[in-house]
């Protein structure tokens, strides 16, 4: 089973890299980008075949390593 994980900065956490991307897009002539936020994407190939178990394990992985929940949120999709 595959797990796809998105990690994003929480609202209210300053994202200087996202801000720089937003400015660079403007410099390239892409108007109308109100804001840009940068995040991370992970793909895990899991041996687990039970969906419920897989979700619980991946959430644990996110809390313990993949995301820093002081500043980041995560979301998990299973396939």
């Amino acid at each position: 089973m595959k797990a796809r994980i998105h990690v994003t900065l929480k609202n209210g956490v300053l994202d200087p890299q996202g801000k720089a991307i937003e400015l660079a897009l403007g410099n390239l002539g892409f108007d109308g980008v109100n804001s840009a936020r940068q995040g991370k994407y992970f793909e895990l190939d899991l041996a687990e075949t039970n969906r419920e178990k897989a979700l619980s394990v991946v959430e644990d992985m996110c809390k313990k390593l993949i995301a820093n929940t002081v500043i980041e949120n995560y979301s998990v999709e299973l396939e």
Binding site: G12, V13, L14, P16, Q17, A20, K64, L65, I66, N68, V70, I71
Partner: protein, 224 residues
């Protein structure tokens, strides 16, 4: 006073830290590799600066989960004075031993220069050798020193005397200009500036202004 310096792959201030500790305490610290599970009893643990694990995932994230950190966490929670400088601060924050997180500098620049710090709380085991409100000059060298915590946490840190050092100017976007924080018990300090680079007279480590030496002397005085 016996000390240990924890060494991670990519640590690059471990030798500076060891030299500083030896100069002040007169005893060579034990260098402890991150894959160890245990080390001899010590009075002081230091996590050095550097770019451990190449800053993979997040600065300090991989090191915070290395074998040795289980033992470091156990001892730090039991009250052993524990100092994390720069990457060491990031590791302590990632390990949950200190509140908050260190993010990319707000200006996106690697900041590498001497900065002026205000000693906010001189009543900790790391700062007792300074005067409260004193300004000292210590170098910084980091890309990810932007200290962040939610506003409730920041208020609690300020009210609880956990802010040890504050930048006198905004160099990296840190909340409230925080340069160094302690845990609630006051035995764990994380700071982005490098006091270990200011312990030698050749670098100005004796005049009380350019002074990182007093930090190590404070720890030594607390141990006796």
């Amino acid at each position: 006073m016996k000390s240990a310096v924890i060494v991670f792959p990519g640590s690059n201030c471990d030798r500076d830290m060891a030299v500083a500790i030896e100069k002040v305490t007169g005893v060579k610290p034990t260098m402890v590799w991150h894959q160890e599970y245990d080390f001899d009893p010590v009075d002081f643990i230091a996590l050095p600066g550097g770019f451990s694990y190449g800053d993979y995932l997040r600065c300090g994230a991989m090191s915070a989960r290395s074998h040795i950190m289980g033992e470091v966490a156990k001892r730090a929670k039991a009250g052993v004075p524990t100092l994390g400088v720069c990457n060491g601060f990031q590791v302590l924050a990632e390990a949950g031993l200190l509140p908050g997180a260190l993010m990319r500098n707000a200006g996106l620049k690697f900041v590498c220069r001497d900065v002026s710090l205000k000693v906010v709380n001189a009543d900790t085991r790391f700062t007792s050798g300074y005067d409260g409100g004193q300004e000292i000059t210590v170098p910084v060298a980091h890309h990810d020193g932007n200290y962040f915590a939610d506003s409730d946490t920041i208020s609690a840190l300020e009210d609880g005397g956990q802010v040890a050092f504050r930048y006198t100017e905004d160099i990296n976007g840190s909340c409230n200009g925080i340069a160094g924080v302690t845990n609630k018990a006051g035995n764990i300090l994380g700071m982005m500036p490098h006091p270990e680079r200011m312990v030698d007279p050749a670098l100005g480590g004796f005049d009380g202004i350019h002074d990182g030496r007093a930090l190590f002397e404070s720890v030594l005085a607390g141990i006796g």
